[in-house]
Symmetry: C2
């Protein structure tokens, strides 16, 4: 019997995260204070995030950062996740390529977001914080943080992008079941929300707006900090458990990826799978190609510009060096709510600028066709976000079919789509349209 899944024992959960910042040839540029234009240090971020996360955010020195045991203990609730050989998809495509995916969907909340949520909740609890706020798009991050907050004894308040709040009511229910307060954004509960709703009464929400509201709530609430699910360097750091496990598992399969592919919203799942492999490219020992797949409707990597910009619509964050479509960019209402963000994290932006990674964009309808093929051949209903990666994989695998190359393609299945069935209903009804810029 051909081996389908490559499984690691709990004892093989990584003990350290990989901090790419220490090894990047060109370092990530500093965050800047929007008022003074001055470079920011970790302590400037302390009022917003867990202190340890701020230290990690700007750490360009330590290649490996220890994972505290209490976090590893919670990782053990679902890690290590399986690496899977996609024989079914290979057959459906009739490709000589070998396709593997890291299945991050097999955890209690169904997406990779939990890997950083647990770390952030732990560090907040450690420093005596009692309340945490955040934003969420499709709800994967909000659900993960609600869960992590409950496990570590924090109260959570989540601003969910209004269009997703309405399109995906199940994720709201999941957050509420874990005890979180969930508010559709823009809302009347913050000054910024009220301003937006006054100017644009039908505003459907965006991650940039929800971040502003969550930040405002955190800064105006005692003993409360804010937590972000993507974009930032420390979030990408926490996600490297994905790639570190995958590297061991690829070795179990006796292969090494020629291509690594992930969907792209702010960078967390892409960095998670890519960075641990990318490090072998830095010293030239490997020549893997890395591709981030973003929606055509929100193409910061393929059509944005590299510049300092705010991370939120309300201009409350530091200025971040990023590929951006502008902090006031309003993406159309694609179903992949988690990819509707105007900018790319600083690490990915620098790596793209320096040619270490590539980007491609994908139209919504093509993405759902890819998702359907994957569901029917591998039996897993992928999240609309993750389906962007599948789209990219299919392009590469079909190239291999033309050339006859037996490339090894690895992608990250960042989440399942069982709570996104309204999106599939839209697709199956034949009503789905491509939403371009």
């Amino acid at each position: 019997m051909k081996q389908k899944r490559f499984i690691l024992q709990e004892s093989e959960i990584p003990t350290q995260w990989y901090n790419v910042q220490a090894e990047m040839p060109n370092k990530v540029l500093p965050f800047k204070n929007p008022g003074t234009g001055e470079k920011m240090g970790p302590e400037d971020l302390y009022p917003i995030f867990a202190k340890e996360c701020c230290n990690q955010e700007l750490n360009q020195k330590d290649t490996w950062i220890n994972i505290p045991e209490p976090i590893r203990e919670k990782y053990a609730y679902y890690r290590c996740t399986p690496l899977v050989r996609a024989y079914g998809l290979e057959e459906a495509l009739d490709t000589p390529a070998h396709i593997y995916f890291k299945n991050e969907s097999v955890n209690p909340l169904g997406s990779h977001k939990i890997n950083s949520a647990l770390a952030q909740a732990y560090y907040l609890k450690q420093e005596g914080i009692t309340n945490v706020t955040t934003e969420t798009g499709a709800g994967q991050w909000g659900a993960a943080l609600s869960y992590a907050a409950k496990l570590f004894g924090l109260e959570a308040a989540v601003y969910q992008v209004k269009i997703s709040y309405e399109q995906k009511p199940y994720r709201r229910s999941v957050m509420q079941l874990f005890g979180a307060q969930v508010t559709p954004s823009p809302s009347m509960s913050t000054k910024f929300g009220r301003r937006i709703l006054t100017d644009f009464p039908n505003h459907q929400g965006s991650l940039g707006t929800a971040i502003s509201e969550a930040l405002e709530l955190a800064m105006s609430t005692p003993n409360c900090k804010y937590s972000l699910g993507s974009v930032l360097n420390h979030v990408c750091l926490h996600q490297t458990v994905i790639g570190l496990e995958a590297e061991k598992q690829m070795a179990m399969a006796g292969e090494y990826p020629d291509e690594v592919i992930a969907c792209f919203g702010g960078g967390s799942n892409f960095c998670g799978i890519a960075l641990p492999f990318l490090r072998h490219n830095f010293n030239g020992s490997r020549h893997t190609r890395f591709t981030a797949v973003e929606p055509t409707a929100c193409p910061k990597l393929t059509k944005g510009k590299f510049d300092y910009d705010f991370g939120d619509e309300g201009c409350m964050t530091p200025l971040i060096p990023m590929y951006t479509l502008g902090h006031d960019f309003r993406p159309s209402n694609i179903h992949a709510g988690g990819l509707r963000y105007h900018g790319a994290g600083a690490i990915v932006s620098q790596l793209l600028k320096d040619g270490f990674i590539e980007a491609m964009d994908a139209e919504q309808l093509e993405v759902f066709k890819a998702a359907e093929l994957f569901a029917k051949s591998e039996g897993i209903v992928p999240a609309p976000e993750s389906s962007h990666a599948i789209y990219g994989v299919i392009q590469r695998a079909l190239e291999c079919k033309k050339t006859g190359e037996k490339k090894v393609i690895l992608f990250n299945l960042s989440g399942h789509g069982l709570i996104d069935m309204t999106a599939y209903d839209d697709y199956m009804s034949g009503n789905m349209v491509n939403t371009t810029l």
Copy 2:
């Protein structure tokens, strides 16, 4: 770090199912032809089910039945599933008991039903059948069969109990994504459905009704057979992979269960976890206690009578020796759609009659309280059905707290509840009521 999950490699997927029928002290009574009252042989069932399943159904000779390699290959898409120590739940209950669960929710469709769906679809395909019909309650079985049919190249038609079709639209979408035809039952597409709807225009559906419709469609369609997701002996047989794996994993944990608990609809997940352990009770080498937990609203084990009865409302099946509430019993609309069946499978019925297993019933509101506690302590949103098992576990664990006994309790988490969030909304809204007889 305390070990949380016990993981088997793919190579340890069982190669044989355990056929309890060969070892039961009192054999299961024969099925009877309702017209003649005569005992039925396998060939009498051939027009309905896959021939190999009919042979398995009445096999009281072979203790072990080989699992064909093509089925094991598909099992490898998600098996072996983890055995998990529920430290979080233990802590929340402050119990000295050691609680373990077999996590059957971590497969692409989120419930154990897939274990038999793959086997049945394989056998149907092998004998040249092209179409399969079935019924489904909450949709777990229908989704599993739709998936298995797609993997093995069969066309599937599913009758879904109307109340679940409306309460759980996501499962319908999942079935449709896998290419199945889904019809709410009772429907106007069968003679039986039309008769029911004429007499009871507001009939909310039941498994018994949906079975009749699916059977009628199968018998009136060329090259089409019927497939059932629970109750029958061959379905229970296929599910024994759960307990066989769990037995190895309990040994990895250095323990053996004093208590085995599962929810109960028709018997498939209960048999799956229980029978491989029960065999050690037969010869007296172990003394494990087995408890099936059923809803108070559908209490065939605790309040039904042991008798020959039909498996469906339309009286199309053979007569089955079972604990039954009567084939025309109409359960109230509890959220655990998969447990709304009037009868218990023949194996479980005989075992209960002979005192090898026990049953308890649980009120809906208490079940959801148990589910909430489990979600908050273990991070997994359990299916409403599986939450009945959790309710039972909590009762036993609290008994241990009183007595100080360090009992080892094992239960089957037969599925997750991420597609059942409307049920949780009902619970969280405070509107949920207990629906007794």
